[in-house]
Symmetry: none
Subunit: 402 residues, 2 copies
């Protein structure tokens, strides 16, 4: 029998776990002060907890690898982000809160402009407004129905981006992009990249042909380019793997979508971070596991705004006492990856983490920061191990072996 950790050891009963994720939490030292964003932030609540927490740094994928949001969160949730690779089409569909079903083919679309000869003149159709995007998607929904077994769904992303989902029996995602990534040439035909995908390629081409007819009278957005074509497969759930009844609370749909992939419940979008914590308090004891996502820390890192990232961390710190008041048995605070303001991008640097429970080996003078975490009891460890540690601290794992 294959032994899988922690799945094969999970108990039906145990403590309640809260996972607070500050997206892009990890950082790099400011050139003047030598302190990272987290180390610079005034975080009296997180620092107080750090004095009794297990501290460490986790690597979401592996040393040197900067993860996207999908792999970063899958790692936090204990799903190998290499084995469970979420493609771009599925991530886009999750990002607009589209209710994907197993077998669905999810495709990213660009609205584009073609000339009278069919050659692309603008791969982004002059970057339409979001309102204009929604008008165009409504037109596509009305004019491009499914047929027979095939269901066709369009949804708006932002500006020139939309999502197309094909649903029906026997569809394949082994299709090449129709986006040639160049202007002056026509869009590529839908093409199978594996034997057996030809029928799906023909269906996609029919959908695109019909869409081009519907958009023919548009001055700018008179074409579509398909990219990141990807099938949605159900993942084993938190309930199945960990025996955890889990829910996700987040403002942005992509994070709720990744959480739904692993079987968490979601209940609409939080208005803001304070609203997320209010939602956490509601029906708190109905769930074994709560994932709460805070986005602003990452956004300010990607802006390259060190001071604003510091403030975003401080804003989360101010909410921590409300979380403590709910008395979770295990409270984990971490990020899904690092986003140093100096790099303005996701980075490969290991991510600070604290696990607050009665079962730690704390250092009383520790605070929450990259350097104290590097000296913590957890060391530098794979992000994939976080869920095992969470379950252990919640007393939800049986002993392995006799």
């Amino acid at each position: 029998m294959e032994i899988t950790f922690p799945d094969s050891l999970t108990e039906a009963q145990g403590g309640r776990i809260v996972l607070l994720v500050m997206d892009g939490l990890g950082g790099l030292p400011h050139e003047q002060t030598g302190l990272t964003e987290l180390e610079s932030a005034h975080t009296p609540n997180l620092d107080r907890l750090a004095g009794r927490a297990a501290l460490g740094l986790h690597q979401p994928v592996r040393a040197g690898v900067a993860p996207g949001s999908g792999p970063g969160h899958l790692s936090l949730f204990g799903y190998d982000p290499v084995r469970y690779n979420i493609g771009r089409g599925v991530l886009s569909a999750l990002g607009v809160d589209f209710p994907l079903q197993p077998g669905d083919i999810a495709i990213r679309l660009n609205f584009a402009t073609i000339d009278a000869a069919g050659r692309i003149t603008d791969r982004r159709a002059g970057r339409p407004s979001d309102d204009e995007n929604r008008r165009l998607v409504a037109k596509l929904r009305a004019g491009v129905p499914g047929s027979g077994d095939l269901q066709v769904f369009f949804d708006s992303e932002k500006e020139h981006r939309a999502v197309l989902v094909l649903r029906g029996p026997g569809l394949s995602a082994a299709l090449a992009d129709t986006d040639p990534q160049a202007t002056g040439v026509p869009p590529l035909p839908a093409t199978a990249t594996e034997p057996g995908a030809e029928p799906t390629a023909r269906l996609l081409q029919q959908v695109l042909d019909r869409a081009f007819e519907v958009l023919a009278d548009e001055p700018k957005a008179n074409a579509l380019l398909a990219r990141g074509i990807d099938a949605y497969h159900a993942f084993p759930t938190f309930q199945e793997r960990y025996r955890l009844h889990a829910r996700a609370i987040a403002k942005y749909p992509m994070y709720r979508g990744v959480a739904r992939l692993v079987g968490m419940e979601t209940q609409g979008a939080s208005a803001d971070d304070q609203d997320s914590v209010h939602r956490l308090a509601q029906n708190f004891t109905d769930y074994d596991f709560h994932f709460v996502h805070f986005k602003a820390v990452d956004s300010r890192g990607e802006d390259g705004d060190f001071a604003a990232k510091v403030k975003a961390i401080e804003a989360v710190d101010a909410l921590v006492p409300q979380v403590e008041a709910l008395a979770p048995d295990v409270l984990i605070v971490t990020g899904d990856h690092s986003t140093p303001a100096r790099l303005r991008a996701h980075s490969w640097h290991a991510v600070p983490i604290m696990i607050v429970s009665p079962w730690t080996r704390p250092q009383a003078d520790a605070t929450f920061g990259e350097r104290p975490c590097a000296r913590g009891e957890l060391g530098i460890f794979p992000g994939m191990d976080i869920m095992t540690l969470a379950l252990a601290h919640a007393r939800r794992l049986a002993k392995y072996g006799a």
Copy 2:
């Protein structure tokens, strides 16, 4: 699609990387002072860099395993030393700078003495001088030609050791040693260890029979013993895997040979360490990656001479400003394994490493030594991850996943 790290993420552009390897750098504390060789050395330049570097300790193979030079360097280069196992014959051929081609069968030879009955009386033929070795090899080259498709090459190592390379279509390395590892018995016949290797066994026996005839009039070196029979296979290159145009600078041929295995360019032997650094400065910007090998640290460790190993480290430290002046984007200083003077041998202890780049989380008071490295931001990590980290610090890796 299979994901391989870091290969699948490499960018065509990015920073320039210098890897300085002090062979056998890691050590153990002196019994009086409690400081290792590196910690005892006066290394103002390395210590200054350590204050802004990422520090850690790397394990070349795995915990507890002392690597040879081949596995140690393959790990540094990001090639799994278990999967890419260089056999002893190939290592010997590399060590004499023999230009191996894929499919070549490389064999270590001992000159030996046999008596009139053909029984081995000395497995090392009285340890001939290197000059005597060269005379014997010249005699073999003249007297043991190839035949048909088979090309035969002899080369000198030191004392009683030589190298034999067989080149031709369809050769197999699945052959047992002819060295019985004992005296009083004759050499073993060339024997296949797998079905299909019999023709190669017969060819090797013919070569050895002819060599014995050529050596028959020698008073001591009148026989050959074959060991470590091994085929040379091309490895995927640095260019293919990392998109790096790479070169190696080293005094000793074996290190240039291992570097050539992974596709690095080499340009002859450095006269000494200062010459290696001069060579590094020449055409520095023509390459993305430079590997510079310093041997003396290991040699003094194998001598068991703690003070001399300290001096060898200090001598490299004195060259560091010349390397800094070249302004590499990423400067890595480490060893391929530990060679503690107290053990007089390669050891299993993790090896100090520093990565100097703008993207570190340094501790200002750090110096370069085993204990500071153990507390560094990289922790204790597999040597196989060094290249991924190097590429990340050089901004040569794309984000993984959306």
